[in-house]
Symmetry: C2
Amino acid sequence: MASMNFEDPEVAKFLDQTYQLLKEDALQKGTDREYPVMNFKHPNELKSLLDLDITAGPATYEQLLEEMKRMIQYSPKPGHPHYHDPFYGSLDAYSQAGSWLSSSLNVNLHTFEISPVFIVLEKYIFKKLCDLVGFQHGDGMFCPGGTNCNFFGLHLARFKKFPEVKKTGMFSLPTLRCYISEDGHHSLLKAVNYLGFGGNSVVPVSTDDRGRMLVSDLESSITSDIEKGYMPLMVMATCGSTVLGSFDDLTAISKVCKTYNIWLHADANWGGGVAASKQHRHLLKGSHLCDSLTWNLHQLNGLPEQCSVFLINDPTGNALEEANSARAEYLFQPDKHYDISYDSGDKTVQCGRKSDVVKLWMQWRALGDSGIEARIDQAFENARYLTEKLRTNEGFKLVLPEFECTNVCFWYIPHRLRGQLEDNKWWQEIGKIAPKIKERMTRTGSLLIQYQPMSNKGFVNFFRAIIHNPLCRPRDMDFIVEEIERLGHDL
Amino acid sequence: MASMNFEDPEVAKFLDQTYQLLKEDALQKGTDREYPVMNFKHPNELKSLLDLDITAGPATYEQLLEEMKRMIQYSPKPGHPHYHDPFYGSLDAYSQAGSWLSSSLNVNLHTFEISPVFIVLEKYIFKKLCDLVGFQHGDGMFCPGGTNCNFFGLHLARFKKFPEVKKTGMFSLPTLRCYISEDGHHSLLKAVNYLGFGGNSVVPVSTDDRGRMLVSDLESSITSDIEKGYMPLMVMATCGSTVLGSFDDLTAISKVCKTYNIWLHADANWGGGVAASKQHRHLLKGSHLCDSLTWNLHQLNGLPEQCSVFLINDPTGNALEEANSARAEYLFQPDKHYDISYDSGDKTVQCGRKSDVVKLWMQWRALGDSGIEARIDQAFENARYLTEKLRTNEGFKLVLPEFECTNVCFWYIPHRLRGQLEDNKWWQEIGKIAPKIKERMTRTGSLLIQYQPMSNKGFVNFFRAIIHNPLCRPRDMDFIVEEIERLGHDL
């Protein structure tokens, strides 16, 4: 075997069998309620179940297929209607087709010549997404994940304030400060570490009881920092926080930012999807006032990982190019025979950049604006249904009176703890419940939901169901409640 | 349409047809000499040929298939045996299977629970690759592209020298310096910009006539910088330079680095693949002396974009975790029921991280060590054949007497310029030839080779054939020579 020729009948047969396996085991069974959402094995068990050795020499086609089958068997199924764990997941035929197309064409987006179709697609998509968030002078860039998009926000904020950084670095800059709600994503901590600001430059701002940044506290932190001689550079507002799903008030934050000449970057990685829904886009109100915004389309919009876009509201039209260009003479020759403004590679920090746009384009083309809107609205509808169900069940306690974005957060109260005084001791007991149920859930493979504590609000371990799978129906919401009750009633 | 259910017969049929289209048009025809390597259209032509609008509402399956067909038609074919343009390319059924598997499973590698199989695979692969480059205490991380891997080298160099940077940033650091050969990749410029060092921190070191860093010049730059009060932080050695394919002398550079306590990072993004070949691994001699090394497996090893690994020679065993962790309590709960040392997500800067490991594992498992070695050796054999062919043809002039890595660099001399005095005027004329041939080549769609000047060596525009496709045979090398002669003889 080991033929590299796609015309070889044996190779073609292997591909055909691979396709059948993926369709049946990963896509069909992986989204079918009759099959488990996961089949957990501990690391050492897993190592003995897989045949990892790649050294031995050519494998047969049967061995390769067998191994892929096992990998599917022991991997969780993020497209399953009982998978409500992290923010990504969901599978559909259209974005899968786009993803496979991207892999089969294997083009790199640095110059127009070698990636004409996807560069044209990107320009089109950036315009579309900028329109949705209200960026009049919008430009965009796909980055490898939402965290990297947030890095870009900080990078652009720094460059626009201190363009000389590109040459002279941060060695002689004033000490800079960035502001984020205490419920904001940890990617800002990663960003300040990576980009050379250090963790001390992050100022966490308190949140209200729904997890939204307290804008009065933001302003007092800023004025206090200025008095101390620090320079405020950026506010990272959160649109759909990681745990509670909260949306900061962009209009109020923008007003503060304008007063103090601070870059406003919106982390809409999770919540950005609401921009496509007439019913829910009010949650992003004020997005047009931001300087930049990031949106993970592999989250609420359900694209396969990764599909993350950084958008910038840039009246100059060349901020990305100016901030990032290195003008390598071996890539961006000036004497090319076509319009080199389409050589978009120097607008980013990557050199090789795989195509993430085509899966997004395919899904949107398949569903249309109305279909994209319907899937967002349906996710909210499911979250609402689940919330009401939990509210009226004595075995559950909601963390917030209402859900935010489509995060539904709750404690399970086992029978022995119901109807008791909710004192510290009681809460300590409750904090031990979620990890125990989670362990049983994982062994059973029936359901996937994350739990976590939330120290800044004094919340002990609670479950957080993230609802976005378009396959979910009310009965899947019912299943969450029933299954947790089944797994935990004796605890 | 617009069903999200994979059991829906219409959806299953659409997937079947998508698969057939990808197999036939992208993979089979895309690697078949009977079909063109590209079908170039200028941006505005392309926009009118594609039906970009995604707003209008649900598309029919026929429309989606039609549009994918067109995207394939107007995209270049990097797996084609006449495609010798950039460093990536090549297609094989095994890594495509792995890539599609990765997309269909759509798991994210932050915690073991949601990505058990691929985390186990990664650990196995890091060990394998570290063994090949001689890292005794090796650890690794997949990063989104080789440029990002180089960022990691700089990031780790900074962290290991100044761990306090993670908290306090670079504001009060001494002015740092990084060294790279003047033939090194522009990603170091991108890195110092992004990570806050600034472009002035990059010191280009001269190269010899084969494009290798002059180690004596490196040392004198370092001592001169120290005298000026700068602090040398990192040398980025190049293993397979972008234009000429040169390999720096890692052993000699390492000696200098040890003397001055400087981090040695090897950019083996292009040349790393030689580590798998007994015949060619001498080019990486001294790799075990480096502190870190990056290797783009989507280049010489021919995996689909992206497959980039950062390797670190780390006796402490926890440098990646220490440099990058943010310990988000909503991801890395300490009270989990399994061995949380497998939660590898906090070892990197990404939060969502797609799986790049499985396509690598699949290809290597399919071919075995011997098959991987054979493909590397064959690429060198093809480069050797082409070089000899060009050497003996009066219409061509080699840029270097021998090829480096598998970069074959040459000028084409049209008839009217043969046998003349090679003065400045003659060279000026030669510099205009490659862009003209390139334009014709692109219109014809028969061949894809890049050209560029090389200012630091005074070379006017020349062609650079990058040879790595395992489908290439001597007749494809013959074709390069014949086709350029055909396209350029009258110029």
